[in-house]
């Protein structure tokens, strides 16, 4: 154990602990941008610089391991002045468009600019201009807002093991690149979006749906598979507009493409809202159902479907539908036994519905023939 004194407070920490982590244990705040607790330290943003007795120049607290007897100063006029310069430099190469940015209200850079009171910028100059839009379906990459913290690169490499992106070019022209500047073509887990401290990476489906201040956060569990990742639904006017996950959960905040981006079905106009009862005999359902046509809402060409289905089904009331199902199930059970019946449920129902459905199958029908993509 090493004894370290930070801003006059002393703490004993394990060998290998960084100054930043030791400060966190003492509840001493140090501003950071490129640091992420789950990723290897980077030391690029230079905001977490501190002074250490015996070292002539300021060092980054995120990369410096403590040594025994170390004395650290995290804030004094000199350090704060350096941080202000660094922030001004970052902002001098960042679009000043917080009023239209998806990330406003939830942006680390915006917060820091606020706390350091940066309005005028001494270092105004040329900004990087990138006009090419990445055509991938999920992730909006606004490289002009990128501060080159490298969190996305590291999360893709160290957590996902994919390496879809990396640093490219160098100096002022450096940017986060896909191979040969093509459109992003990866698993779209969106971890990069989750760790981005600015508005450089956002979800394409989030656009103009509402920002941090408008939303209500609802905790739930992802129904898509048996992992059971924790989800935070961002709800505005009873509509899910974004899904994130908190870092203090079992899945540590990481999600996959389905958990993070696959929620548009919830408010899809194609969704059935009333029970339908088949009117045509089964053999008439040939020829097969109409094909999926690209371009319609939710990927399905609506009008085609409506015409086709209306010849096969009729709308019914809930009472009628439930009575009908009960009657038919009972008949079948009586005639062939409970194991003649099987149930499949969907991840697109709520967890509560799924729970009830298996309960109904097991306790009500009396069979174990029940499954779901997350398994029971």
């Amino acid at each position: 154990m090493f004894k370290v004194t930070i801003d006059g407070k002393t703490i004993e920490v394990q060998e290998g602990t960084t100054v930043l982590d030791a400060a966190k244990m003492l509840d001493i705040p140090i501003p950071t941008l490129c640091h992420h607790p789950k990723l290897t330290p980077f030391g690029g943003c230079r905001l977490c610089i501190v002074e250490i007795k015996g070292i002539p120049r300021p060092v980054t607290s995120c990369t410096t391991p403590v040594s025994d007897g170390m004395e650290v100063t995290t804030s004094n006029p000199y350090i704060e002045d350096l941080r202000k310069t660094v922030l001004e430099l970052i902002l001098s190469d960042h679009p000043n468009d917080c009023m239209v940015c998806e990330k406003a209200g939830d942006c680390t850079l915006q917060e820091l600019a606020y706390f350091y009171g940066i309005r005028e910028n001494r270092f105004e100059g040329e900004r990087r201009i990138y006009t090419k839009r990445d055509g991938n379906p999920f992730i909006e990459r606004d490289l002009e807002k990128c501060i080159m913290c490298g969190r996305c690169v590291k999360v893709c490499d160290e957590v996902e093991g994919v390496g879809a992106i990396d640093f490219g070019y160098r100096g002022f022209s450096s940017k986060i690149c896909t191979p040969f500047g093509k459109d992003l073509n990866c698993e779209f887990c969106g971890q990069c979006v989750a760790v981005c401290p600015t508005g450089a990476l956002t979800g394409k489906m989030w656009k103009q749906k509402g920002r941090q201040k408008d939303i209500k956060e609802i905790e739930t569990t992802c129904p898509y598979c048996g992992c059971g990742c924790s989800l935070t639904l961002h709800v505005r006017r009873n509509e899910v507009i974004k899904i994130t996950s908190r870092e203090d959960t079992l899945n540590e905040g990481w999600l996959c493409v389905k958990g993070r981006f696959s929620y548009s079905f919830i408010n899809s106009p194609d969704r059935l809202t009333k029970p339908l009862i088949r009117i045509a005999p089964k053999d008439q359902s040939n020829p097969p159902l109409p094909p999926f046509v690209k371009g319609g809402r939710g990927g399905i060409n609506n009008s085609l479907l409506v015409t086709r289905y209306s010849s096969l089904f009729r709308e019914a009331s809930w009472d009628e539908a439930v009575d009908y199902i009960a009657k038919r199930l009972k008949t079948l059970k009586d005639k062939y036994g409970p194991d003649a019946i099987a149930g499949l449920s969907s991840a697109r129902c709520t967890n509560e519905e799924n729970y009830l459905f298996q309960k109904f199958m097991r306790a009500g029908i009396g069979t174990n023939n029940i499954d779901h993509c997350a398994r029971y």
């Binding site: 879809a164 992106i165 070019y169 690149c177 191979p179 040969f180 073509n185």
Partner: protein, 168 residues
Amino acid sequence: MKTEGETVAAETAAILEGILKRYRDDDGNIISILQDVQDVFGYIREDAVNWFSKKLDIPASRFFGVVTFYAQFHLRPRGKNIVSVCCGTACHVKGGSKIAEQVKKELHLNSEGETTNDKRFTFEVVRCVGACSIAPVVLVNSKVYGDMTVDSTSKLIKKLKEGAGAKK
């Protein structure tokens, strides 16, 4: 969802196999591989990168990051002859930029990295080739010409265009 590595023609694959064989067991072989790819093809070809990415199970993004970081690598084919003007300190104070202007003028090029329409010459600026005592210097491919003046530069380029000391 990842795209499969692009397929390459059989003869290209044979060349790439040869390069791979040389460096397969080397740790940190990306740069050496890319240097050889550039030697063979004159620039870094996308299909070659994808081929190596697949064979070595290293993401193509990492190759691309390395390619764009180092000045030596080029993503586009260059001219048969590279005329480089040194703009290191010693050459700068002895008028290297005037020499560079003259080369551009003689080759009818506008900026660094450009190649003439006939693909014979590419003009580049380099940062110190360690020939400071004979500054300012011009390199044609790897031959060093020292103590250059605007006039001698004109003459050199004219001679090169006529074919002396340059590849056709």
